[in-house]
Amino acid sequence: MRFVFKTSYDADIQLFKHRAQAVWYGLLLLLVLATPLYFAAIGDAYLLGEITGVLILAIAGMGLMLLTGHTGLPSLGHATFMALGCYLNINFLGAGVPWLIAFPLSGLIAGALGTMIALPVLRLHGVYLALATLAMSMLTSDFVVMAEPWTGGIAGAAVPDINIFGVEVNRYSTPYKFYYLVLFVAILLVWFYRNLLRTPTGRSFTAVRDSEISARAMGINLTRTKAMSFFLSATAAGLAGALFGHSAGYVTNETFDLVMSITLLLMIVIGGLGFIHGAFFGAIVVGIIPVAIANGRSFLATTFDVNINVPGLESALFAFILICFILFEPMGLYGRWLKIRTYFELFPFYRKDMFKRQKSYLKTDRVQ
């Protein structure tokens, strides 16, 4: 058990609680930096591509985590912002804008557009936001088809390669460079996210999540705070969408559908709502499940000669896992890890209800 004696107010908001934590995160950084070396040694970059995909999902997940996990606003339409970011990026690159400008710009514009769409709804209660974003998600495909000159419509659009000062980055021909690029963006965003949570803005997000009425009483402008959170969240999703486009190489009107939005939501719930780690844990799970299902299916087919080929099984299984998590581990994987760690740290004084949430009785939102 480690006791951290806080001798100044700054100790409360330091990036790392104590030195050991900094060391562990440094080791993790080394590990992710060294991962490509292993794949270069075995000469097979397929798995590295999958890991890159997980990182991209985690970036989008961080965006949604800020909105849902830290501000308490559910969004069922983050795939739409990914689509916005992706298509903006394609069009900027097509117009000859260098990637280093096109990429952040497409994220920011996606964020601004998203905020404009959501602004009228942000003033209402969370359910309305869920509804409006759900409607948005349903319409994405239609809009992509309607905006054919820019999006390629049903036929789809090819995503140009990344070019940074003459260095070509492509998912297939230079998987290592692409991995490092995505990793760099992910780390940059984590750093930004972590710092954001230490600022008054970030704290006001959490205040809004925990009690809107108390937050208002503390002088927080609800609409502005929510809009800010939505903007940052949609920007991250837009950036993830642009990277997703580069990773997929080709996007159509069906790439960013409702299932993708729901997968993002599932990801952060499984990972742990309200923790940055949750976005990464969730992305790993979402990355692993399809592989596991495919493996399980071929295992059953080869050993027991049972062929399971039921359409919709994947999403049903996803949904089932999601329900189990919400019912039995609402804090997600990261919460489970926290509990295990606390158990060992406090051994033998861990109590079962240490992480129990206070029971709250619901009141109507019709009186806001």
Binding site: T68, G72, L73, P74, L76, P120, V121, R123, L124, G126, V127, Y128, A130, L131, A132, L134, A135, M136, M138, L139, D142, V145, M146, I213, R216, A217, I262, L265, L266, V269, L273, V310, P311, G312, L313, S315, A316, F318, A319, F320, L322, I323, I326, L327, P330, R357, K359, S360, Y361, L362, K363, T364, D365, R366, V367, Q368
Partner: protein, 291 residues
């Protein structure tokens, strides 16, 4: 004539949306939870009835199958609340939203697994029969939808404003703790409401499947019903119906007279407009509490 015909089929469609929205608003009004699986409940209700009625499944008489499937769906709704949602009591609405969406996926999977992924329609005794008056051709199914919806809405309106249970449901929604103090069995009331809304979903599903074909992904229609509920004002039963009718009417008219692609977008565009200019919906139920 053409215009009138469009209006009538739009009305019938709108009634189905309205009924789904009704089930949705029932739950919202009484438990403050939002059931994003309501469309899938509707689809499940239709498939249960198809399973009882159609000759390739059980082949029961239509008039036996209908109450039976309504009952089954009522029990399903009750059990869903009792088995799953009750454990979420007092947790944030976001998790309930996510949970019901996940439930929708599972229902869709099982409907496809047990029945079929192909569009199936219900074998009704009145299929294909028309009422002709003047140059107007009215399908009995369409008339039936309108009549049943009107009756149901009236019943629910009376139920909520007059009966003791209805009032208890409203009380449980507005302040759970205070409702407990008044001796209202909040948990059981919640389960009852879910059962009730399962029944409404079954009625909507049966009406929908008797008018046209239904397949597991029809449940996504529920999203239009949510739009309907929001247009009418969340928590208002007549509002839900009105919202459903508006959407039902706008869709065929937009696809007939508007440019292509507009009819899919129109319901959501109306939703956004309403949310901007009259955020609480047409029959607004929202009051602001000053801090």
């Amino acid at each position: 004539m053409d215009f009138l015909q469009l209006i009538i089929s739009g009305l019938a469609n709108g009634c189905v949306y309205g009924l789904i929205a009704l089930g949705f608003v029932l739950i919202y009004k009484a438990t403050e939870a939002v059931n994003f699986a309501q469309g899938d409940f509707m689809m499940l209700g239709a498939f249960v009835c198809i399973g009882f009625t159609n000759h390739e499944y059980m082949g029961l008489d239509f008039w036996v199958a209908v109450p039976l499937s309504i009952l089954v769906m009522g029990v399903f709704g009750y059990l869903f609340n009792w088995g799953i949602l009750r454990h979420m009591f007092g947790q944030s609405q976001t998790s309930i939203v996510i949970l019901t969406i996940a439930m929708g996926f599972i229902i869709r999977f099982f409907a496809g697994f047990f029945w079929s992924h192909e569009p199936t329609s219900l074998e009704t005794p009145f299929a294909g029969q028309d009422i002709r008056s003047g140059g107007l051709v009215l399908g009995i199914d369409e008339v039936m939808i309108v009549v049943v919806t009107a009756i149901l809405t009236l019943l629910f309106y009376l139920f909520f404003s007059r009966s003791r249970i209805g009032l208890a449901m409203q009380a449980a929604s507005q302040n759970q703790l205070a409702a407990y103090y008044m001796g209202i069995p909040v948990k059981r009331i919640h389960s009852l409401v879910w059962g009730l809304s399962g029944m409404v979903a079954a009625v909507a599903g049966i009406l929908f499947a008797s008018k046209g074909a239904i397949d597991p992904s029809t449940g996504l229609l529920g999203i239009k019903a949510f739009a309907a509920a929001a247009i009418g004002g969340f928590g208002s039963l007549p509002g839900a119906l009105l919202g459903g009718l508006i959407i039902g009417l706008v869709e065929p008219l937009a696809s007939r007279y508007g440019p292509p692609g507009v009819s899919q977008i129109a319901p959501y565009a109306i939703l956004l407009l309403i949310l901007i200019f009259r955020p609480g919906g047409i029959f607004s139920q929202t009051q602001r509490k000053k801090v």
